[in-house]
């Protein structure tokens, strides 16, 4: 980090020595001007954002427990539509709050909620189609792909962090399946093409974000 005060002192010395003009010094100082400390209003906004994110996470957890519990009395289609409607409504309301009401934080929290419901939907479908319990990392792969696509389309950067957390889970989980000698049939494995696709997809997304970051850094 460049010390602004030191740079200012040095700059004044350069001006007195005639190395640069005062205008040039001002221009240089403009580049390195330190960031202002967050105001009370900004702090309040940040707290609101945190509360909203926590609220969406808890609602998401509630959805997960809803899917996981034995709600035998509902048919699969009813369960599926509940999930799809909740997911779509939170996405649409999130988008509405960001675009039309200028409530960015509330909108982002709702989109996060939609993303969590999307994850629970994946596991619901897996449960219904009797996907082997061995294949739980597959659900996380699909969830990661969805999260990355959503992050690109909505431009919410924090969703990328969420995608990183989601993709680490199958990275740890896969070796347990691959090296489990009790699993004999290939049917129980995660299809090779999905893992390869995930690798390719992560590389392309990583490359795009990395290049963007490099361009901004320059």
């Amino acid at each position: 980090m460049i010390n602004f005060e030191e740079l200012k002192k040095e700059g004044e010395r350069w001006v007195s020595e005639g190395l640069i003009t005062e205008q040039q010094l001002e221009k240089i100082l403009q580049i390195y001007i330190p960031e202002q400390k967050p105001s009370e209003d900004e702090l309040r906004k940040n707290v609101t954002r945190l509360i909203l994110i926590f609220a969406s996470v808890f609602i998401g957890i509630a959805f997960f427990s809803f899917v996981a519990s034995n709600w035998k009395y509902l048919s699969f289609l009813t369960k599926f539509f509940i999930i799809v409607i909740c997911m779509l409504s939170s996405y649409i309301s999130g988008w509405y709050f960001i675009e039309f009401k200028n409530l960015k934080r509330t909108g982002e929290a709702l989109i996060y909620l939609g993303q969590l419901i999307f994850g629970s939907g994946i596991f619901l479908i897996g449960q219904h189609h009797h996907t082997p319990a061995y294949n739980w990392p597959l659900g996380f792969i699909l969830w990661t792909i969805g999260t990355i696509l959503l992050a690109f389309s909505t431009n919410i950067f924090s969703l990328f962090y969420f995608a990183i957390v989601l993709s680490i889970i199958p990275v740890i989980g896969f070796p347990f399946i691959i090296f489990d000698e009790r699993i004999i049939s290939q049917f129980f494995f995660t299809p090779l093409w999905i893992v390869l696709f995930m690798s390719f997809f992560l590389f392309i997304s990583g490359f795009i974000i990395y290049k963007k970051g490099k361009k901004q850094g320059i």
Binding site: M1, F157, F160, Y161, I164, S167, I168, V171, F174, P175, I178, Q186, F189, T190, L192, V195, L196, M198, S199, F200, F201, L202, F203, S205, G206, F207, I208, I209, Y210, K211, K212, G213, K214, Q216, G217
Partner: protein
């Protein structure tokens, strides 16, 4: 016990660092911008992009493992790790992605230890050849780091390689200077003929020639100091190279177990190794400690290492 040592190291570091900051404040000495050196990425996009690239490499490795399972395990797990390391280093080089390079740097010695054990066990080759290979790898890291940090484009990569190689080198030398390390050198029950295993021969020669060429290149181009770095590093290189040619008189299994249980009783050659390796470790730590006093660049990391080595040595004696 280990946590106790770590805690002690931390306390000593904080005390020294606190004293250093206090003195700097008292005499208004300018601190070097070390934080900037260890700032690995430019911005959050850069960080996330690099993490995604590493994750994609790991997923590729896992897809290779699944493929391997489909084809009844013809490609061993160790080769998959090696391919992953190679890809991460190549991608790191072409994309200038520091995280991928760090990933490769950390896992290459782990791969070498695990895979060379398999090769050695198959052909009953002397186990201390693993140690030679490990030293050559660490030397490659150290010298590459010293060479690259002078290059503006690869400066950060060089610093990271240099930074990572120092604790690696010290841990390695320190472990060897302990009774356990001596037992690793002495407890070999095979022949030193590396030609018995083709992949082992290939990799050990690759590491040896790369490290030797780098050592001479770095000293020729004045990247490293002749008296302080080249001579000791070359001396240790010769020591580890001797494992490839000379067989240390073997101890029988019984004797080996006996010696291990009564570590006070070393063999004559064991005493030589203890003295030799402890002198090396101590002198290296001294070499790292003095630049910190003279406030040269990037010395905090070196200071850390020297404190670490001092404590390790004290704990042994």
């Amino acid at each position: 016990m280990v946590f106790g040592y770590l805690l002690l190291i931390l306390i000593v570091f904080l005390l020294f660092q606190g004293a250093r900051n206090f003195l700097s404040f008292l005499f208004k000495i300018k601190q070097h911008p070390e934080k900037e050196i260890f700032n690995l990425t430019i911005n959050r996009e850069n960080t996330v992009g690099q993490i995604f690239i590493i994750l994609s490499i790991i997923f590729f490795g896992e897809s290779l493992l699944i493929l391997n399972r489909y084809f009844s395990g013809n490609l061993s797990f160790y080769w998959v790790i090696f391919i992953v390391i190679l890809i991460s280093l190549i991608l790191g080089y072409f994309l200038e992605s520091l995280y991928s390079i760090i990933f490769g740097i950390i896992f290459l010695p782990c791969w070498w230890i695990s895979h060379s054990v398999v090769w050695i066990e198959k052909r009953t080759i002397a186990t201390n050849i693993i140690l030679s290979g490990l030293y050559f790898i660490i030397l490659i890291y150290y010298l590459s780091g010293r060479i690259l940090e002078k290059n503006k484009k690869w400066e950060k990569t060089g610093i990271i390689m240099h930074f990572l190689s120092i604790p690696m080198l010290f841990t390695f030398l320190f472990l060897l200077s302990t009774p356990y390390g001596i037992s690793l050198i002495e407890g070999n029950l095979g022949s030193p003929n590396i030609l018995l295993s083709k992949p082992l021969t290939f990799f050990i020669l690759l590491f040896f020639f790369s490290s030797t060429i780098l050592l001479f290149y770095a000293s020729f181009k004045n990247f490293i100091s002749i008296s302080l770095e080249f001579i000791p590093l070359f001396f240790i290189l010769c020591f580890f190279l001797s494992f490839l040619f000379f067989q240390i008189p073997q101890l029988t299994n019984m004797e080996y177990t006996y010696k291990r249980s009564f570590v006070e009783s070393f063999t004559p050659q064991g005493i030589f190794f203890v003295i030799f390796l402890n002198i090396i470790t101590f002198s290296f730590s001294l070499l790292l400690f003095f630049p910190w006093i003279s406030k040269k660049r990037r010395d905090t990391c070196k200071f850390w290492c020297s404190v670490y080595v001092y404590f390790c040595n004290i704990s042994v004696f």
